[in-house]
């Protein structure tokens, strides 16, 4: 763990082709896309997960993300390596926010740079799907009437009844 300039915690791993981080500081899209842009790259795909205010009629006020940081960082690197195996030469950056996030903020940014666009799209899509499947990061939603750890309803599929549970966290 290191610190942002303003003292907020940051977990980070950087190689010549990959850049992975968990951070409490805002994510800058341009920095990530610049990292994956190199003379051999012709296509960059960026996926951003942003904090949505409305989910099936329910208003989110803000979110808090928590992670098993050491393991999450290691797994993000593994996902980058998976993309490199599938698309040799790909460049990959994945940054995920932790702590409190307001509506509209970027929770996760994934950038993949490759010579041609098929691989850039496939690579960024692979990473977001795998993050949602197996990277130990958790989201707590805060509503006007309570809060709720997404996934905490003890089913593997959030919102099994098609919408968040009605009550506050029990």
């Amino acid at each position: 763990m290191s610190r942002e300039a303003d003292g907020r915690p940051r977990w980070e791993a950087r190689t010549d082709w990959g850049w992975f981080a968990l951070t409490e500081a805002p994510i800058d899209v341009g920095t990530l896309s610049a990292f994956v842009t190199r003379p051999e790259v012709g296509a960059v795909n960026v996926f951003l997960g942003t904090v949505r205010e409305w989910t099936r009629g329910r208003r989110t006020l803000y979110l808090v993300y928590e992670a098993y940081e050491a393991m999450a960082l290691r797994l993000l690197q593994t996902l980058g390596e998976e993309v490199r195996r599938e698309h040799p030469g790909a460049r990959v950056a994945v940054h995920h926010r932790l702590g409190r996030l307001e509506i509209g903020e970027i929770a996760v940014a994934i950038a993949v740079g490759t010579p041609h666009r098929d691989a850039a799209y496939a690579g960024s899509r692979h990473i977001i799907e795998r993050i949602k499947e197996m990277v130990p990061i958790w989201k707590k939603e805060f509503w006007e009437d309570g809060s709720f750890w997404v996934g905490d309803q003890l089913e593997r599929i959030p919102y099994p009844d098609g919408r968040p549970p009605e009550g506050p966290e029990g």
């Binding site: 098993y68 929770a107 130990p136």
Partner: protein, 90 residues
């Protein structure tokens, strides 16, 4: 990455709990280690002590020293065992 914590007895394992489970039970526990202890047995012991662990158990994945491991994985003293509820990052 050994999960060794200078402040802990080497005859214990460290248990990490997250999200709702961590809020209910506590985020970090120290638990006695014994020869032959597996992840499954550790979960049995924790579930006997903490009802919430029993409730969550069908949905948690387990990691040892920051890597996913099956429940028959044998533990060594000082290991860091994480109970991973369904993730919701992204």
């Amino acid at each position: 990455m050994n999960g060794k914590n200078g402040g802990l007895d080497r005859s214990t394992v460290t248990v990490l709990l997250f999200a709702g489970l961590g809020e209910k039970v506590g985020r970090t526990l120290s638990w006695p280690w014994r020869e032959g202890l597996t992840v499954a047995e550790l979960l049995d012991e924790l579930a006997a002590r903490y009802p919430e662990v029993a409730v969550y158990r069908p949905t948690v994945m387990t990691a040892v020293n920051a890597a996913y491991r099956p429940v028959d994985h044998p533990l060594r003293p000082g290991d860091e065992v994480a109970l991973i509820p369904p993730v919701s990052g992204g």
